[in-house]
Symmetry: none
DNA sequence: AATGAATGAGTGTTCATTCAT
DNA sequence: CATGAATGAACACTCATTCAT
């Protein structure tokens, strides 16, 4: 109750974060082009000019916003398999769960979707995303797969390709959430889908089921 | 005098198609917002005003373009399993091949990607696409799956979920092509990916592993 | 009464001229920076967007306007001494009269004044003006001077410097008109000034005073 | 405690002068409109807000800057003919030299040029300049001319008009320096021009050359 | 006195849409 | 049918000015 509303001059350090958060929400509602700087400013509770104190252009805001949301994505992924004790199959299970959580976080998933949509107009950003997010996720998965193959848990397969197949349903589920759910009659629970995926996937890569090759 | 070719008015019936073709190419290069009516007109070789003789707005052009590209997608899919003689596994193989061809056709794949990108701004179109393209594809696949289950070829699984898992790598491959390939160092051949997918998928749904091998 | 006002679509060919005329008047009232595109458009009786059909930017309008007003300046000057019959002194007299007329035309004089004011921001334009207008005027005058020297009418002097001295009062009179007259208590008639200038100037360059007097 | 140097506030009395000096340099580089308060502040080594402690607006800064540069102009001029002993011709010679020096001082000459350029937007300032600088210079010259006429050194002429003719080459030389020199191929040395000017001018106003009036 | 973060009115430019020809 | 000149609403970005600290 001491000082409820201060009109001017707030913490300069917190500003960029607030702006990018507002930017994310606005971009994800309207897309890049349909978002006006005024929208972002209003949502962040500042004036339009203030944005330009921190970012030189709308594109710069977009890029900074994407970049700021890369790290959480990556960290959550990598944290997901930090546990070294488990079997490779268990680690894949953990990964599916972790990715499933990410895929269920609408704000987080909006970022790759925006990257997808704007890749043509922001090639540099697409490259960055490709390498720093997707590339790392693929490495993560193929690392687990290769370990599993080495241990004899999994069949010998092309790890790079298989990693892609492992991730595909997660990616589709994520995009699905942000694209068709508001329009869907009978949404499929992503958890069910991913549980089945894990089951089928493990079965398909399992080292020769009954006793191996004769 | 009865000759068909008239110098002034080029086939007026062909106009809408030419416009939509030009629209598709422009939208896929720049996205919806960054495409100017002038761009489309120039590419179609007409004046800007002419577009408005056929479509009342830029949004209408976009929607018509999407709609016009629904049918080819659907038809190619449905043609892919017209052959009733084959086993369910063979029909899935055919489907993967067909989808793989679609996914390799950059112009065709651009359409779902645009729908994805603009779903927030064109909810009606998203709904339409969800039902008329994706819905049909899912039905197609789950039909085959159910037949295979009924015949004992496949295990009993939730056909709706499994159909999604069947399609996921195809979708991801398609999006990948249009998004990251211009930015990719070492592109993965989609055909390799889909071949492996089919292999793993069939293995994972095969009825009772023990007796499954022919 | 047949068709008093046509709202749209007028002669495309006349437009650039109308626009530049409106631009000149607005620039001369407010200067380059304080002139808004809306001002020019309103004065030309078109909408702001129309200007951009003909010129890509405000700077381009400015440059085109300056360029369009070069020719009249130059032509009036050069026409002024087309007559080959006269003595060099008479030709200088004609030049002073001609320059005096130009200097009295407020719209015409506004152009060099704007060039002067914006020379720092439009160096290319300054260079152009220096060469194509001022340079030609100087050549004109020094040509007459050299002819007069060759004929023995004038003393031997540095023609380039002397030409500058001949033009200086004309230039000052011109700038004076556009700068201080709206602020002046007792304006000096430029004609009186230039008449005296001619008298003093001819006297100062006359060949040998002794025989020069009639 | 009585020591003059205080670390925090640098001589607060010197501030306005420093600001105006920075303002002059910035205005003369970019003109009034294109100069930003930030530019001036940066050049003066203070923050933007500080300027507003001394001047209420950008226009006020401009006007103060012009006003602050009046005095040096005037004083140098008036000092130039303080010497009462000399002949009128010598005093004109001194004036030309003095004016020539002023005209060669790019910073000083920038001021009248800015006044010229902004006269339309700052009429009050134009009036002030007209009276306090130009008016005094004209009085100075016409005073000398009248004295010379009274002494029989010079012919009887309209002193007001003749004074203008005396100053015109100086003014043109000054403007030339600030406008076209950065753009010039072969600059004319102002000293040469003014020397010739003085020579011709004195000759043109000299009391009747051979024997004078009968 | 000095700062510099914040403001918001102002303006150049774009572009979907209209319509006289 | 077709054109393309014209429109005007919309928006990104700027910058003089304010004011809490």
């Amino acid at each position: 109750m001491g000082s409820p509303a201060r009109p001017r001059l707030r913490r300069k350090e917190a500003r960029p974060g607030e702006l990018l958060s507002a930017a994310l929400d606005t971009f994800r509602e309207k897309g890049f082009a349909a978002t006006r700087m005024d929208d972002i400013a209003a949502r962040a509770g500042v004036s339009k000019g203030t944005i330009y104190l921190y970012y030189p252009s709308k594109e710069a805001v977009f890029e900074a916003m994407v970049r700021a949301n890369l790290l959480p994505n990556i960290e959550r992924m990598e944290a997901a398999i930090a546990d070294e004790e488990r079997s490779s199959a268990d680690r894949l299970r953990l990964l599916v769960t972790a990715f499933g959580e990410i895929a269920g976080d609408a704000r987080l998933v909006a970022v790759p979707k925006l990257v997808l949509a704007e890749a043509g107009n922001f090639p540099e950003m697409a490259r960055f995303y490709r390498h720093e997010v997707i590339g790392r996720a693929l490495s993560l998965v193929s690392g687990v797969l290769e370990a599993g193959m080495a241990h004899g848990e999994f069949r010998r397969l092309d790890a790079a390709l298989t990693a892609r197949l492992f991730l595909a349903p997660v990616i589709v589920a994520a995009l699905w959430q942000t694209t068709f759910v508001p329009v869907e009659d009978a949404p499929v629970p992503p958890a069910d889908l991913l549980r089945l995926h894990l089951d089928l996937f493990l079965r398909s890569i399992a080292a020769d089921a009954s006793g191996g090759a004769p």
